[in-house]
């Protein structure tokens, strides 16, 4: 069965590149460009993996994650966080908020694909 990835990313060019890559890797991708839309979609569509940018309009990635982890429907949803801030404090905040993996921009495409595959497989177990 095709695995579904929800991509929460407000930078359209990055979203386009990542969608292309993930589709080529065999995933079905839907994109949301702000935090509120991403939260709604994560709760209603229950994707297999959520790729969540930290800096999103309306609601930050951390805030989205906090809501998700407080909701039974998404408390175990595998989440990969993306940020351009690679400082240790950001990494700690992401992991404390409940992210499973954390990748900083600029990233290598293979990093993202490997991480999503890993999370999708772990989620299926």
């Amino acid at each position: 069965m095709v695995k579904r990835v929800l991509l929460a990313e407000d930078e359209p060019n990055i979203a386009e590149s990542l969608t292309f890559l993930l589709e080529r890797a065999g995933f079905e991708v839907s994109v949301k460009t702000d935090g509120r839309q991403a939260l709604d979609a994560a709760l209603s569509d229950t994707p297999d993996v959520l790729i969540l940018d930290v800096m999103l309009p309306e609601m930050s990635g951390y805030e989205v994650l906090r809501h998700l982890r407080a909701d039974r429907r998404a408390e175990t949803l595998p989440v990969l966080m993306l940020t351009a801030k690679g400082q240790r404090a950001d990494r700690e905040t992401a992991l404390e908020s409940g992210a499973d993996l954390f990748i900083t921009k600029p990233f290598a495409n293979s990093e993202i694909i490997d991480a999503v595959k890993q999370l999708a497989e772990a989620g299926a177990d």
Partner: protein
């Protein structure tokens, strides 16, 4: 070394001005015999008396009490420990001899050492600014985002030879667009750094004083210790005159502790900052006398950090209680507090930051903070539950107070004090928001705020 020359200096200067000993004594309101003992170095003087004498003789305090020589001695001793001097075997113990016998050479050497130290400090400050300035941090974030898009897209163009021409053209356009944006961010960043280099000083006096408070984690143990000994002398003082008595005590008894502290403090480099630091530390000392830390910390926890109750318990002013809360020692789960004060023009005139709380340092803060709206309801404590774009939640507690003379027909001028705490910490306080309380979306200040659709925005973010 310097104490023994104070009396001689006073006498020398007094005579140069043609003043009689009794005249000088009268001007500074002490007896002529006491003046005589001072001039004979038989009485040690410091603090406000020394200041009054310096004023009466129209000479800088540091010239009078020998602090200049002491500073020079310390500078030269420090220089002797510099790696390049240490290898020469410079004799530290003979620094005072150098000052005595070759004062001009000693002074010149001291100035060179100081200028080298300032240059090093400036490099450290610029480096610190690169890692902490929210403006730069935000710009670097945008830059990394653009680079991420370019990197990802070019990798796709290289690795997926089988894509359609239409798709290839689209990705080529993305690379072009992103490189264009990247160059715009780069130009804006260069312009910003040029402006920073053009400015004469890296720090303002306000920054220097804040740096001093930050370096001490907002606590000054030497003042706390001395103040705790003075606190019992307020026991019989009526609450109405408590503050003025504490102020008097702070000036008389802690003035020299404060002067020594400022003198040793490396972040205080200018006379303007030294004056500001003195006022800030005198306020701190008054707070420490009126609200001794042990009792204050206990009452703070008992009242759940209720600012008004604490102000009543200690007969202190609201803003003094705010200050005192920022000085609470770090212990276990004790909440941490930040403090801001703004005038009627919305200018932040005092800021004591909080770990993890980003405020725009070099431009106006977010107009949505209750700090700015509290003046519409003076003397009322207002709470605001806020969400920052980073996802962090804080609770603000603000109250506007009347400043200046009262009276019918007089203008009413206000200042607002605002206490800041993390929402997680607020749960230990009376200001804990109910789960249903409105969460207001605010930011650190327009220039670094990513809320592009905010209707209160007055300035574009740097690279939009």
């Amino acid at each position: 070394m310097h104490r023994s020359i104070v009396g001689a200096r006073i006498r020398q200067r007094r005579r140069a001005l043609g003043l009689k000993q009794a005249e000088l004594a009268q001007r500074i309101r002490i007896s002529p015999s006491y003046m005589n003992l001072i001039e004979l170095n038989k009485r040690r003087i410091a603090g406000s008396l020394l200041r009054r004498i310096a004023d009466a003789l129209s000479m800088p305090l540091e010239e009078l009490d020998g602090v200049s020589e002491r500073r020079l001695f310390e500078t030269l001793s420090g220089l002797a420990n510099h790696p390049s001097f240490r290898t020469l075997g410079a004799e530290v113990e003979r620094a005072s001899e150098l000052i005595g016998r070759f004062p001009a050479w000693a002074k010149g050497l001291g100035e060179l050492a100081q200028s080298e130290q300032e240059a090093t400090l400036r490099v450290q400050l610029l480096s610190d600014r690169l890692s902490n300035d929210p403006y730069l941090s935000e710009t670097l974030h945008r830059m990394l985002t653009r680079i991420a898009a370019v990197r990802s897209t070019t990798e796709i163009l290289n690795e997926y030879a089988d894509m359609s021409d239409e798709r290839r053209d689209r990705f080529n356009r993305i690379v072009h667009e992103e490189i264009q944006s990247l160059s715009e961010v780069g130009e804006a960043l260069t312009a910003y750094l040029d402006r920073a280099e053009d400015s004469e000083r890296v720090l303002t006096p306000v920054d220097e004083v804040e740096a001093m408070f930050d370096a001490r984690d907002k606590q000054f143990v030497e003042i706390e210790t001395a103040a705790a000994l003075l606190a019992p002398s307020l026991n019989d003082v009526h609450s109405a005159s408590l503050r003025s008595k504490a102020k008097e005590l702070a000036e008389e008894r802690l003035g020299s502790v404060i002067d020594d502290l400022i003198e040793r403090e490396p972040s205080i480099k200018t006379a303007a900052a030294a004056g500001r630091a003195r006022r800030a530390l005198l306020d701190y000392a008054v707070g420490a006398i009126v609200m001794p830390m042990d009792a204050f910390a206990r009452h703070a926890a008992d009242t759940k950090y209720d600012l008004e109750l604490l102000a009543d318990v200690f007969s202190a002013e609201f803003h003094a209680v705010c200050h005192r809360l920022t000085a609470l020692p770090r212990a276990g789960s004790t909440p941490r507090f930040g403090y801001f004060c703004a005038n009627a023009a919305g200018t932040i005139i005092e800021m004591m930051g909080l770990d993890g709380f980003t405020a725009q340092r070099y431009a106006a803060a977010c107009p949505l903070w209750v700090l700015f709206s509290a003046q519409q309801s003076p003397e009322t404590v207002i709470r605001q539950r806020v969400l920052f774009p980073s996802g962090e939640r804080f609770v603000f507690v603000a109250r506007a107070r009347h400043v200046g003379p009262s009276g019918f027909g007089r203008p009413r001028n206000y200042r607002t004090d605002m206490l800041v705490m993390k929402e997680a910490d607020a749960h230990q306080t009376v200001y804990a928001p109910e789960p249903s309380a409105i969460v207001e979306e605010v930011g650190p200040g327009c220039r670094i705020c990513p809320r592009t659709m905010c209707q209160h925005r007055v300035e574009d973010p740097l690279s939009e």
